[in-house]
């Protein structure tokens, strides 16, 4: 296998609270993303998915761990040292309504990366922006429109055009469709699929929608309370999940034609990230908890399909 495009090693982001407590938003994440691959990051709200994406793109500095982009650790680089690297990694936001400056035209927003990075001359910018808009399926007439004149799906296309302007190698997508209408979601997903097969981009695809992840991703990492609890090829995860949390997530998806409501597979709430329980962090809610789970914290074990669970490693 080729060298990873992006590799996160023991990545952590801690936010200190008043009174000495610490919110461990991301608490030791190890994943790798290869060129052209699509890695899904799934988990409940607040489990640290978005924080991982922002750390990976170095929009925020990590508290610990390494971020290797094309083999180079970028975790400690300064803003100015990161600037040339920004060409290679871009971000798509969950809410396209807030991701465009309301005071700027579509042209100005899509041209911004080109202007900031100085990659196109004054005359080239207009041609390039028109080109990008056509790539995402918008006509030239949108160039001079303002965000409030566009629909949600159109705004998301503009955001994608902006992210593609620098021809990145890595695209982090932070729930790119969850703020859109269902019919528009399908269009955008289809476009993203086609874009990847055409350009060989690598996706870091964040979602809590398992069906979307199954459709778009090659590999999946399941996150719980700031840590990856299971990681592997998408089909293996969905057909043979090893971690009880992954099983519960998959069981929680309602079937299209339900015979009856399934039982709630998980009891209780996600613990506070400032008070992560000792041992396995999933233990308090785990249906197959053993004595050992409340004492020892399991690490990700396995080769291609890894899980952080004592029960899985024994089986």
């Amino acid at each position: 296998m080729s060298a990873p495009l992006l590799e996160l090693r023991g990545l952590a982001k801690h936010y200190p609270l008043k009174g000495g407590r610490v919110v461990r938003a991301v608490d030791g994440v190890d994943v790798a993303l290869h060129p052209g691959e699509s890695l899904g990051l799934v988990g409940e709200s607040g489990c640290g998915k978005s924080t991982v994406a922002r750390l990976a793109l170095r929009l925020i500095p990590p508290s610990a761990g390494a971020i290797l982009f094309q083999g180079r650790d970028i975790s400690g680089l300064s803003d100015s040292a990161l600037r040339p690297l920004r060409r290679d990694m871009q971000l798509i936001f969950q809410n396209p309504h807030a991701a465009l400056n309301p005071r700027r035209t579509v042209f100005a927003s899509v041209a911004e990366p080109l202007v900031v990075q100085g990659v196109a001359g004054r005359d080239g910018v207009l041609a390039r922006v028109g080109d990008l808009l056509r790539q995402v399926g918008l006509p030239d007439s949108f160039l001079w429109r303002y965000p409030h004149e566009l629909s949600g799906g159109q705004k998301q296309r503009v955001c994608i055009a902006r992210a593609l302007a620098l021809e990145p190698k890595l695209l982090a997508l932070d729930e790119p469709t969850s703020a859109l209408d269902v019919s528009v979601q399908a269009q955008i997903l289809e476009f993203l699929q086609e874009l990847r097969s055409r350009s060989g981009l690598a996706y870091l695809f964040i979602s809590h929608n398992l069906a979307v992840v199954r459709q778009v991703c090659d590999r999946v990492a399941v996150m719980y309370l700031g840590r990856v609890v299971e990681e592997g090829p998408v089909e293996a995860i969905f057909t043979a999940p090893r971690h009880p949390y992954t099983r519960a997530l998959i069981a929680a998806v309602l079937p299209p034609r339900p015979a009856g409501m399934p039982e709630a597979p998980l009891a209780g709430d996600v613990p506070n990230a400032a008070e992560i329980p000792p041992g396995c962090r999933f233990a308090p809610r785990c249906p197959i908890r053993m004595d050992r789970c409340t004492r020892d914290d399991p690490a990700l074990a396995g080769t291609d399909h890894r899980a952080a669970c004592w029960a899985a490693s024994e089986a």
Partner: protein
């Protein structure tokens, strides 16, 4: 490549439509239009005053002792003062002073306060703590009292009055803009700009400042009236403009010894202050209704 740059009107069709809508909704509010009319009248008088008043020399310390304290008449619409000068001329000519005072104070406060507020809100941390603590110190002392102290130290005079009021005026803008910038810095579009490698200067100029302008415009237009009132107050207690230079506060200060028998001497400058402050307040309120409709109408 067929995309050509369309004409200005085509490119900015949405902006022009928005402006037309603003004008339309502003025009639908009678109080806003009254404010606009008063403000427009005020600006016109400030611009053309010296050419339309009947006795332009009466503002320069002329003496006409045969005409002392005459009541309003056809020759002297607002009556005359203790020097025999025409009050109508002096009240009109004082608009220019007030306009200059108001624009300078609000302009200086904006120029100082807005960049500080944006920096405090955007950078946060130690920068914010430093800027906001200084701002809090200024805000914790009543403005006019602090201005009095500063003028007392600098010495009376209209220029020193303006300097003093500008010094006490800027913290309000820091507060206003800081809150707005603090909310904006976490907007995804700011994060997107950082993700493409935009510098802090570019983000502040292109993404933060243009989205802060509505509340600044509203506050500045309302502060015009208040700044003039504060300057008139300084004039009234003898720390601002000095007679014979025409200034409403200073005129009322002299006129109060002639109350109530020579009522017109105090009433007309007082009414001018009242009308100007009212006009700028109504105008500012109207601007807030169209530019910032979500904010509470205090």
């Amino acid at each position: 490549m067929s995309a050509t740059r369309p004409s200005f009107a085509q490119r900015h069709a949405a902006t022009l439509r928005q402006l037309r809508f603003y004008a339309w909704s502003f025009g639908r509010s009678p109080s806003s239009m009254l404010g606009l009319a008063i403000v427009a009248l005020f600006f016109a008088l400030a611009a053309f005053g010296p050419w339309i008043v009947p006795y332009p020399l009466d503002a320069t310390g002329a003496m006409n002792l045969g005409n002392r304290l005459k009541p309003p008449s056809a020759a002297h619409w607002f009556g005359t003062d203790e020097m025999g000068n025409d009050l109508y001329s002096r009240v009109i000519l004082a608009t220019r002073t007030s306009l200059w005072v108001g624009l300078t104070i609000v302009g200086a406060a904006t120029v100082v306060g807005v960049p500080l507020g944006i920096a405090a809100g955007y950078f946060g941390g130690a920068v914010r703590a430093a800027i906001m603590r200084v701002t809090d110190v200024f805000l914790s002392v009543p403005g006019i009292v602090l201005a009095l102290a500063i003028v007392a130290a600098l010495g009376p005079g209209i220029l020193n009055g303006i300097i003093a009021l500008a010094i006490v005026w800027w913290p309000g803008y820091v507060r206003l803009v800081e809150a707005k910038a603090l909310a904006l810095r976490n907007e995804p579009f700011v994060e997107a700009a950082r993700a493409v490698g935009a510098s802090h200067a570019r983000i502040l100029a292109v993404h933060i400042l243009p989205n802060c302008t509505s509340p600044i415009i509203v506050k500045a237009s309302m502060d015009m009236g208040l700044a003039m009132l504060a300057a008139a107050s300084l004039g009234f207690i003898g720390l601002g403009a000095k007679p014979p230079a025409p200034e409403w506060g200073a005129m009322i200060s002299v006129a109060r010894t002639y109350m109530p028998n020579w009522w017109w001497y105090a009433v007309f400058p007082g009414f001018a202050i009242y009308l100007t402050v009212l006009g700028f307040n109504l105008f500012g309120d109207g601007l807030r209704d169209i530019l910032d409709p979500k904010s509470s109408r205090g």
